[in-house]
C-alpha cells in the first residue's frame, strides 16, 4: 500500500492540440483518472478547441505532415515528404480509428460524454473562444463553462496540472 499522502486526488488536463493524436492522450488520462476515483477537470484551449466544437469533433484527423514517427502499415518509416500526398492523412486517420475501436476506445464525442457522465468537468478557454470567434452555441452541449486563466487556476487548486 502506498502512502496516503502520495496518492493523486485530483488532476486538471489541458488539451491544446486538435489532431486525433493530440486529443486522445488527454481524454484517456481523464477517463482513467475517474476510473481510479481521482477528480478530473478537462480544459480545451487553442487548437484543442476542435474536440469540443460540435461541428468538428467528429472529424478530427492525424497529421501526416511533419510527423517524424509516422510509419507505413508494414512498419517501415514513412518518408515525411509522402505525408503531403492527397489521402495520406485520411488513410492514417482511418487506420488509427480502426485500431482504437479494437481496443474499445470510443470516438471523441462518445468518449467525452463518458468522461462527463463519470463526473469530470469539461471547460473551454475564454481566450481561444475570442480568438477563433466562437460562441457558446458552437460548442458541444456537454461543455460546462467557459473559463479565463484565473478561473482555471481556481478550479485546479490542490491538484496536478497536465498539459497535453
Amino acid at each position: 500500500m502506498s502512502n496516503q499522502s502520495e496518492e493523486i486526488k485530483k488532476i486538471s488536463v489541458i488539451i491544446s492540440r486538435g489532431s486525433l493524436d493530440g486529443v486522445y492522450p488527454g481524454l484517456i488520462l481523464s477517463n482513467g483518472a475517474r476510473m481510479e476515483g481521482i477528480e478530473a477537470n478537462l480544459f480545451f484551449t487553442f487548437f484543442g478547441m476542435d474536440a469540443i466544437i460540435d461541428k468538428r469533433m467528429d472529424n478530427l484527423s492525424i497529421s501526416t505532415v511533419g510527423n517524424a514517427a509516422m510509419r507505413l502499415p508494414w512498419g517501415q518509416k514513412m518518408p515525411t515528404l509522402l505525408g503531403i500526398l492527397p489521402g495520406m492523412a485520411s488513410f492514417a486517420t482511418m487506420m488509427m480509428k480502426k485500431e482504437m475501436e479494437k481496443l474499445d476506445v470510443p470516438p471523441v464525442r462518445e468518449f467525452l460524454q463518458m468522461i462527463k457522465d463519470a463526473g469530470a468537468g469539461i471547460y473551454a478557454c475564454k481566450l481561444a473562444m475570442d480568438m477563433f470567434h466562437l460562441e457558446k452555441k458552437d460548442l458541444w452541449e456537454g461543455v460546462d463553462d467557459i473559463l479565463t486563466v484565473g478561473d482555471f487556476y481556481q478550479k485546479s487548486a490542490g491538484g496536478l496540472v497536465l498539459f497535453t
Binding site: N31, G32, R34, D104, P106, Q113
Partner: protein
C-alpha cells in the same frame, strides 16, 4: 505476502490489495470488501455490475472496459459512478474478487 482476515479466514491479497485467488471469493466476502470501501449495502444494481464483471473475467481473462460494461450490463456510466464512487476500476473489480483491470479504458 499481504493477507487479510475476512470472516475468520485468512485470505491472500495481491500487490493492489485485491484478492489473490479468485477461488477465495464469495458473496459474504464481497459484502465485507464493499463495507471496507465505504459501500454499506450492496444493492441489486451493485450485484448486476459485480456479476457481469465476474462473468466477463471468466470468459476473457480480464475485467471489461467501462464502455463494454455500461453498454452491455444495463448500468449506464452515471449510475456506475454513483454505485462505486471511488472509481469502478478500483472498487468494483476489488469487490468482485478480481485483479485490477489491465485495460486503460
Amino acid at each position: 505476502m499481504a493477507t487479510m482476515e475476512i470472516l475468520g479466514k485468512t485470505i491472500e491479497l495481491d500487490a493492489d490489495g485485491h484478492l489473490k485467488n479468485a477461488a477465495d471469493w464469495n458473496e459474504d466476502i464481497a459484502k465485507v470488501l464493499a463495507q471496507e470501501a465505504g459501500i454499506n449495502e450492496l444493492t441489486d444494481r451493485h450485484w448486476l455490475v459485480i456479476n457481469f464483471m465476474r462473468k466477463e473475467f471468466q470468459e476473457k481473462g480480464d475485467a471489461p472496459s467501462i464502455r463494454r460494461l455500461t453498454k452491455e450490463s444495463g448500468v449506464d456510466t452515471k449510475e456506475l459512478y454513483q454505485l462505486f464512487p471511488k472509481g469502478p476500476a478500483k472498487l468494483a473489480s476489488k469487490i468482485a474478487g478480481l485483479p485490477k483491470p489491465k485495460g486503460c479504458i
